[in-house]
Symmetry: C2
Subunit: 328 residues, 2 copies
DNA sequence: CTGTTAGCGCGTTCAT
DNA sequence: ATGAACGCGCTAACAG
């Protein structure tokens, strides 16, 4: 059904090789006249190149795969925008695959899908790769990079924010604002990310000679519900005057539940969130946040993939900044 | 570098054809013994099938492409979840591509990318296809379906909510609650979707003998900002007592601006939104909405693609329902 | 049950 | 500047 270069060749009265050259080899190894004939025939036949054949013979692909965990958070859009921008500039295609939430099966399937297609690079966005799938990724001989996640396995390359600094600066900011009883909410303490943020939090408290009560820190998974649950644990009369929420959604969870308790934000309880997505601006009060440079993560990730192998293989940290709004 | 079936064949002492049969042809046209040998060799060599070669020879693909417009709204996740579920059940792969926002170039590029790969089906999520790209899609000989959008060109198959009903029921609901001066906000009047909703709104007003003031309806593009702008136009002393917002984000925009004006929701102004995503539950007051069955759209879309060509080619409407929360 | 052969559509030598 | 021939990795048809 679909037209091939052979069909075009016949129609234009040239050889398939010439057609191939006109349609892909930019360097002008052919005359203008034949080029015109070929292009005309191609258009008339509605020719669409067969990527499978091209990739089979050239042994490479112009596709970047972005694998995202359908996480509770909502910043992947920004990262993908960054990826797309660079892809467009370099005439690359990006395909996005979902890897589910801590779903080893889906992770594996997504990886296999892109590896079988030998994409030119793999970007893993906030996916906490199951160890059993590591081999698949590392032995595929395809450049890859983790984005927006700090990994247990430090051998794997990643670009993210400095989670220790996130914890530290958020806490420090609250302390500067006069708070001394500070909670940490929904931080996924099992993960490296959560662990580092906790350390930053601890360090900041320590640096200011503040005591820490273990019951001030609540585990969770960045979800809205985790914020609600944490606040319920604090109760009507919370032991803390401020909290660091590990995501914007989690922050909204604590704020809503706090208001449920009749608490005023920020007077009775100050809240600072981590991420700084658009959500912070559309809820009331607007949320003061430690804002991450997600777009930049995408851009840098792509650049690193394109310039593979990079000279500099160290993990790269994108900047964070505190954006003051109304919740502190 | 990568192992091929030839390598496996050599290692296992069989022919490539046999390897191929073991590794893909489920029907047991081979002995258990050789199968075991082959699988062992494959694992040892870290074999990964070359999809390009497979697709080249079989002339078909197990990939469904979902093209999404990076729209202001945020319901595509739900649709994609539905798609993914059906895909998993049928052992299909889903790849997602961004088509930008009314960006003809990116639309074309996304389409070309998936057509060149001759995916088995294309799902277009909320993308308002530029007429210049229609030919590309329709002549590719690949099943396709528009999701969550009503098109000008009724020849193109789609699955969405009944936009007339959305407009009608939202308005009707407000009238039932005692409102007679009702606004319509951010409805993208240029689009068929917006147009139909407006008609539904008009009809509902008409059916109850209510007059319509043209200045009550504000154009827009489903965005948060459109809600803000519309509310600013209404002013401190709005001519309406209730509004239908065309998206959850737009609803939040009007609510925020209304509160800016010192108006209380729902007492001074009632708001009903269209979509009913999770946003409705996390803002305060929670938003009463006309909730669309996005997940179901994804599921039905996939099923229709899988059973292509369907006997029933009529556009299919997924149900809508009004979910009462706190904003009316 | 298994091996041999052919060819999917294309880019790429090597000739001319 | 152009054409003929080859082969990428794999499945399908046909023998055996």
């Amino acid at each position: 059904m679909a037209a091939t270069i052979k069909d075009i060749a016949k129609k234009a009265g040239v050889s398939p090789a010439t057609v191939s050259r006109v349609l892909s080899n930019q360097t002008a190894f052919y005359s203008e006249k034949t080029a015109k004939k070929v292009k005309k025939a191609a258009k008339e036949l509605g020719y669409q190149r067969n990527t499978a054949a091209v990739e089979l013979v050239t042994q490479r692909s112009k596709v970047i795969a972005a694998i995202v965990s359908s996480t509770q958070t909502n910043f992947s859009d920004q990262i993908i925008d960054g990826i797309q921008q660079v892809a467009n500039q370099n005439n690359l295609n990006v395909i996005i695959l979902y890897a589910g939430e801590k779903d080893t099966q889906m992770q594996r399937k997504a990886l296999e899908t892109v590896i079988e297609r030998s994409v030119m690079g793999i970007l893993l966005i906030a996916v906490d790769l199951d160890p059993s799938n590591e081999g698949l990724l590392t032995s595929a001989n395809i450049p890859y990079l983790f984005l927006s996640i700090t990994l247990k396995n430090r051998e794997l390359p990643f670009i993210t924010s400095d989670d220790f600094q996130i914890g530290y600066q958020a806490t420090h900011y609250l302390i500067q604002k006069g708070h001394s009883r500070i909670g940490l909410v929904a931080a996924d303490l099992e993960s490296v990310t959560g662990h580092l943020r906790l350390e930053g939090y601890n360090q900041a408290m320590h640096d200011h000679g503040l005591v820490i009560h273990p019951e001030w820190v609540c585990d969770g998974d960045f979800a809205y519900e985790d914020g609600v649950v944490a606040m319920k644990q604090y109760g009507h009369n919370p032991p803390v005057t401020a909290v660091v929420a590990s995501s914007d959604l989690a922050a909204i969870g604590v704020m809503n539940q706090a208001q449920e308790f009749g608490l005023k934000i920020p007077d009775d309880l100050a809240v600072i969130s981590v991420d700084g997505t658009k959500l912070c601006q559309i809820v009331r009060p607007q949320i003061t946040s430690v804002t991450q440079a997600f777009f930049e993560m995408g851009v840098r990730g792509m650049n690193r993939l394109i310039n593979w192998p990079a000279a500099d293989e160290k993990p790269l940290y994108t900047p964070i900044k505190i954006v003051e709004r109304q919740s502190v």
